[in-house]
């Protein structure tokens, strides 16, 4: 059951990922990205990371992508026209070479890394409370550093966007 769900949602994620790159219209691309994030959330859920799954949907699919879509709509960006026309022979050869290249890379990475136990469905038994406890004890410093980093980005964005007086 879980393996079947994994296959379905992994396929949806890959399909949406390809669609994200292939689509010519920015809104269609943004929606594909939402599809990728939603299926990733399901994959987290299958692993047992319920809080991460919810945060994925709330923060990425909800807040950030709404802003993306908002900006695309505000600028009224239209469909892009391709700047160059590749011949169909090059296209098909490109797909083949890309798949071969990715396979090679994944093989090298697997060979180089030490053998580890595979990930099990429902392997993480951490509840939301555990995540919070870890975040504020073991990982307090990285957590705070990331917060300051985001604050700096925020202030920077406001400074850049401010009207010249």
């Amino acid at each position: 059951m879980t393996a079947l769900l994994f296959l379905i949602f992994a396929a949806i994620a890959i399909f949406c990922g390809i669609s994200l790159v292939v689509q010519t219209h920015p809104v269609a691309s943004a929606l594909s990205l939402i599809g990728v994030m939603g299926s990733l959330a399901v994959l987290y859920l299958l692993l047992g990371g319920e809080f991460i799954a919810a945060a994925q949907v709330i923060v990425y699919a909800g807040a950030i992508m709404v802003l993306f879509v908002f900006v695309i709509m505000l600028l009224n960006a239209g469909a892009e026209t391709p700047t160059f026309q590749a011949s169909s022979f090059v296209k098909y050869l490109g797909i083949f070479l890309l798949v071969a290249f990715l396979g090679l890379i994944s093989f090298i990475i697997q060979a180089a890394l030490p053998k580890t136990e595979g990930v099990v469905f429902g392997g993480f038994q951490g509840t939301t409370a555990d995540v919070g406890r870890k975040l504020f004890t073991s990982y307090l410093l990285p957590f705070e550093v990331v917060s300051v980093l985001i604050l700096i980005a925020l202030v920077g964005a406001i400074v850049l966007a401010r009207k010249e007086v």
């Binding site: 809104v27 929606l31 939402i34 939603g38 319920e50 809080f51 799954a53 919810a54 945060a55 949907v57 709330i58 699919a61 909800g62 807040a63 709404v66 802003l67 879509v69 908002f70 709509m73 505000l74 009224n76 509840t127 939301t128 409370a129």
Partner: protein, 396 residues
Amino acid sequence: MNFFIISLIKVALVAFVLLTTLAYLQWIERKVIAHVQLRVGPYRVGPHGLLQPLADVVKLITKEGLVPSHVNKVFYLMAPFVAVALALTSIAVIPFGPEIKIGPVDTWMQLTDLRIGILFVIAISSIGVYGVALGGWASNNKYSLLGGLRSSAQMISYELPLALAVAAPLLLANTLSFREMVNYQSGYWLGFIPRWNLFPEIIGFIVFMIASFAETNRVPFDLPEAENELVAGFHTEYSSMNFAAFFMAEYANMVTVTAVATLLFLGGWQPPFPAPYSDAVPILVFALSGLIALYHGLNPARRMDKFTLPATALVFLGIAAIFGLSLFVPVLNTILMALFWFCGKVLVLLFVFIWVRATLPRFRYDQLMRFAWIFLFPLAMINLLATSLIVALTTK
């Protein structure tokens, strides 16, 4: 196997009740607003317009679903579907009552209990805006686009105070599950004040209610569909069932938001009075309503329609009798009492939504944004900080 059968029954029951409620909520809304404005409202179809929702549904279904030639077809047809599907999903994690045992069957009055139920509802509502935003954009119409844009901006802004207001009771109860949240609120302070989160979190409750008006695009925050500036806003180009889908989504969102408010702040299905008194309340309420309806229905001064009010009175008295009989059947009593208090609280909050719509004018757009960011957000933040301080001081 047993699990599947019970789940199927529960899903069918909840879906039927929810869809009927959505249809009749619109009737209630029209009636209440009419009475606030000294009109009678829908009156022609059925007694007191009671069959009006049915007539509306038939009308909308049989209308031609027009797709204008200038729209982006895929997104145009997808948008209402997204809106209504996401709006109806949230009800799956809402508990209506406690665990019940009917013979060998042992089940909860809830479709499914997630350990992250509250996060689930927030997540669904945060992606619910895509329906409106897409609908507005795909219609390829300036009014629709403005409506969609306003909706996205408004939802992002009001999501923050909403989430912060939700976080405060979570801190108190130390759980993300709706069931445990309600269990935490059982019992009474000093024997008569219910231990609801409403009392320690009154500011949180008010912030939550205000933000939820904006989240559901209701007056006074219904800028996405402001008639006098945007024609009909994001659904200008929609007709027939596509148009109805947006309305269903709005009403479903209202039901979800009020149910969440009930569970988080008003103690869910926990009665406001200790057990022996709370059992008598529904009997009294229904019997009194029945008697009042009977008195007015049989009043000789009443010249027309001598049928509807006495019939309603009989129904009410019947319900009162069922509540009275249920005192001798413990299982039935548990179900009925939980449903009575849960639905009662949700209906009161829904009435507030309608009442506000009949009372307040619409905000201007800059007022809406300023209110969210300068007043509501800091207020929710202070409330959350104060709650965390108290929780940190009182727990070891």
